[in-house]
C-alpha cells in the first residue's frame, strides 16, 4: 500500500458496520419508458456503513434504480433522499458532489484518456478550479491539481493498478477496466458507492479478491456500498442486506440468508440449484 493510501485510510477511520441511520432512502420510485414500467414503486434503504446487495433477474430494474439515483432518469413518482437531501431536485451533475460515486454495468470510461486521467476525472467533483484559474495557472489551481493527482494515484494503488497509470485505457482487458472504474468512483471520496456488476468477467479467484477489496472500501475508507451483481456467492458473501427486484418491484428484502431462502426469489431468479 502506498503512503498516500495509508494516509488516506488513516483520515477515514473505520466506522461501525451496522450503523442504523439510512444514508440512502429510496421511497416509492417509479420509472417508465413509454409503456415499459422499469421500476414500479420501489422502496428500500441503505444504512450508513452497510454493504447492500441489489439482485434480480435480467431486466428487473436494478440498473434503472442506479440511474434514478444518479439522476440520469427522472422518476415519475417517488422520492430519493440521500443524507437528508432530496436528490430529485438536483441535476445529475450535482450528485457526485453530494458524495455518491458509481461504476457502470457496461464500461463507461473515457476512451481517449490514460488510466490515470480517467481516475483524476473521477475526482472532478472535489475540485473547484475553473476556466480562469486553470488558464492562468493560479496557485490554487496548481495545488488542487496536485491533490487530485495524488488521490488518483492513491486510488489506483488501492485497487492494485498503479503500475498501469500511464497506459491508454483501451489497451486494458475488460476485467481490469472494471477495476479502473472502481478507482475512478473512489476518487471523488464518496460516502456511497454504487457498483453495477463489478465482478463481471472475473474468475473465481479474482471474484474472491474483489470481495475483499469491496470490504476494504467499506472498512478502510468508510464508504457505504450498494451493489448489483449476479454472482451469488459474491453478493451473499459480502452483503449485510440484500434487496431483490423483479419486474420493477421489490420482492424480498433482508439478510442474505433470508433472501436466498425466499420462494419468490428462488422461482424468479435463483432457480432450484444452489
Amino acid at each position: 500500500m502506498s503512503a498516500a493510501v495509508a494516509q488516506y485510510v488513516e483520515r477515514h477511520a473505520p466506522r461501525a458496520a451496522a450503523a442504523s441511520a439510512a444514508l440512502l432512502d429510496v421511497d416509492g420510485v417509479t420509472v417508465r419508458f413509454g409503456g415499459i414500467i422499469a421500476l414500479d414503486g420501489v422502496s428500500f434503504t441503505v444504512g450508513e456503513g452497510q454493504i447492500v446487495g441489489l439482485i434480480g433477474p435480467n431486466g428487473a430494474g436494478k440498473t434503472t434504480a442506479f440511474n434514478a439515483i444518479s439522476r440520469l432518469y427522472r422518476p415519475s413518482a417517488g422520492r430519493i433522499t440521500f443524507d437528508g437531501t432530496s436528490l430529485l431536485d438536483l441535476p445529475a451533475s450535482a450528485i457526485a458532489a453530494l458524495g455518491i460515486g458509481r461504476s457502470f454495468q457496461n464500461l463507461a470510461l473515457f476512451r481517449s484518456m490514460s488510466v490515470l486521467d480517467n481516475v483524476i476525472v473521477g475526482g472532478h467533483a472535489r475540485g473547484t478550479s475553473g476556466f480562469i484559474s486553470d488558464a492562468l495557472r493560479l496557485p490554487s489551481a496548481r495545488g488542487e491539481e496536485a491533490t487530485l493527482r495524488a488521490r488518483a494515484h492513491a486510488m489506483l494503488g488501492f485497487v492494485g493498478l498503479d503500475a498501469l497509470a500511464h497506459r491508454p485505457i483501451t489497451s486494458l482487458p475488460f476485467g481490469t477496466q472494471k477495476r479502473v472504474e472502481l478507482a475512478r468512483a473512489l476518487a471523488s471520496r464518496p460516502k456511497l458507492l454504487l457498483l453495477d456488476e463489478p465482478a463481471g468477467g472475473l474468475n473465481h479467484e479474482e471474484v474472491a479478491e474483489l470481495g475483499s477489496l469491496v470490504r476494504r472500501v467499506r472498512d478502510e475508507l468508510g464508504i457505504t456500498v450498494l451493489l448489483v451483481e449476479h454472482h451469488m456467492s459474491f453478493v451473499m458473501g459480502i452483503s449485510d442486506k440484500v434487496v431483490a427486484l423483479e419486474f420493477g418491484r421489490v420482492i424480498a428484502e433482508g439478510t442474505p440468508a433470508e433472501v436466498q431462502a425466499d420462494d419468490k426469489v428462488i422461482s424468479a431468479y435463483l432457480g432450484k440449484a444452489r
Binding site: G59, E197, G201, H204
Partner: protein
C-alpha cells in the same frame, strides 16, 4: 487430433506493437465443446478474436480442414462460424427483431428464418416482449441474451462464445447452458467457449485449455481439469 473442426497451431496475435498471444495450440472437435480458461487479461478474448480474424494474427488456423488464417471475418462467418463477442456487439439503433434478422444474414439456408426467430423468442421470452424496442435500451443481460440469440440465428457449425453468462442471472445462465447442450446434441454444432463460470463450463465441455499471458499452460479433458488442484483453487473454488 485429425479431423477436428477447428485446429489452431502456433497462434500469435498483437495489438499494434504489443504482442498478446505467443503461440497457442488448441482444437475443437466436430460436435465437441472446448473451453478456454484463464485469468483476467490472459488473452482469451484475443484468442477468439484471432480465430475470427478480428485482430492481426499469424500461425495456422484450420476450419473443416481448410486454412482460414488469412481470411476476413466475413468469409469466416460465411463458413459457419458464429461469434458472441465480448461486449455483446449489439446493433444499438436497430430493434430487437432487426438484430435477430441480421443474425441470419450470413447463413446459407435462407428458409426457416422466421421459425428460428420464433424459437429464439421461446428460448428468451424476455426478448419476445421487447421485439420492437431499440436494442440499445435493453438491460445488460437482455442484450447478452440477444447476442446469443443473434449468433444462433446463423445456424452455425461452430459457435464461438466469449463469456456467454456475462451479466446473466443464475436461472438464465442455466438455461443458456441447456440451450448450448441442445444445439450441440440436436444440430451438431461445435462450441468454443470462454467462460468464467468454470464449473458450468467444465460440466459441458469435453476439452479445456488454460491460458496464461498468451500461452497455453495446461490442456486436457474437462475431467482432468476438474481434478486439477490449481484449477480448482483459481476457477472452481472448491
Amino acid at each position: 487430433m485429425a479431423g477436428a473442426l477447428l485446429e489452431v497451431e502456433g497462434l500469435r496475435a498483437a495489438y499494434g506493437p504489443s504482442q498478446v498471444l505467443h503461440g497457442i495450440d488448441f482444437a475443437v472437435e466436430e460436435g465437441g465443446i472446448t473451453a478456454l480458461l484463464g485469468a483476467n487479461g490472459a488473452g482469451k478474448t484475443t484468442t477468439l478474436r484471432a480465430v475470427c480474424g478480428m485482430v492481426d494474427r499469424s500461425g495456422s488456423i484450420r476450419f473443416g480442414g481448410q486454412p482460414i488464417e488469412k481470411d476476413s471475418t466475413e468469409s469466416i462467418v460465411g463458413l459457419g462460424v458464429a461469434h458472441v463477442p465480448e461486449g455483446r456487439g449489439t446493433f444499438v439503433k436497430l430493434s430487437v427483431e432487426e438484430n435477430l434478422r441480421i443474425g441470419a444474414y450470413g447463413r446459407r439456408a435462407r428458409d426457416g428464418v422466421a421459425a428460428d426467430m420464433e424459437r429464439m423468442y421461446q428460448h428468451f421470452p424476455k426478448l419476445a416482449e421487447r421485439r420492437t424496442q431499440q436494442a440499445g435500451t435493453l438491460s445488460g443481460g437482455e442484450q447478452q441474451m440477444l447476442a446469443i440469440a443473434r449468433a444462433l440465428m446463423l445456424r452455425p457449425r461452430l459457435l464461438v462464445l466469449d463469456e456467454p453468462s456475462f451479466g446473466l442471472g443464475p436461472l438464465i445462465v442455466a438455461s443458456i447452458f441447456e440451450i448450448m447442450g441442445a444445439v450441440r446434441r440436436d444440430d451438431r454444432v461445435s462450441i468454443l467457449l470462454v467462460e468464467q463460470n468454470a464449473a458450468l463450463a467444465l460440466e459441458l465441455a469435453d476439452r479445456a485449455y488454460l491460458i496464461e499471458t498468451g500461452r497455453v499452460v495446461m490442456s486436457g479433458s474437462a475431467k482432468d481439469f476438474r481434478d486439477n488442484e490449481q484449477v480448482r483453487r483459481s476457477y472452481l473454488g472448491y
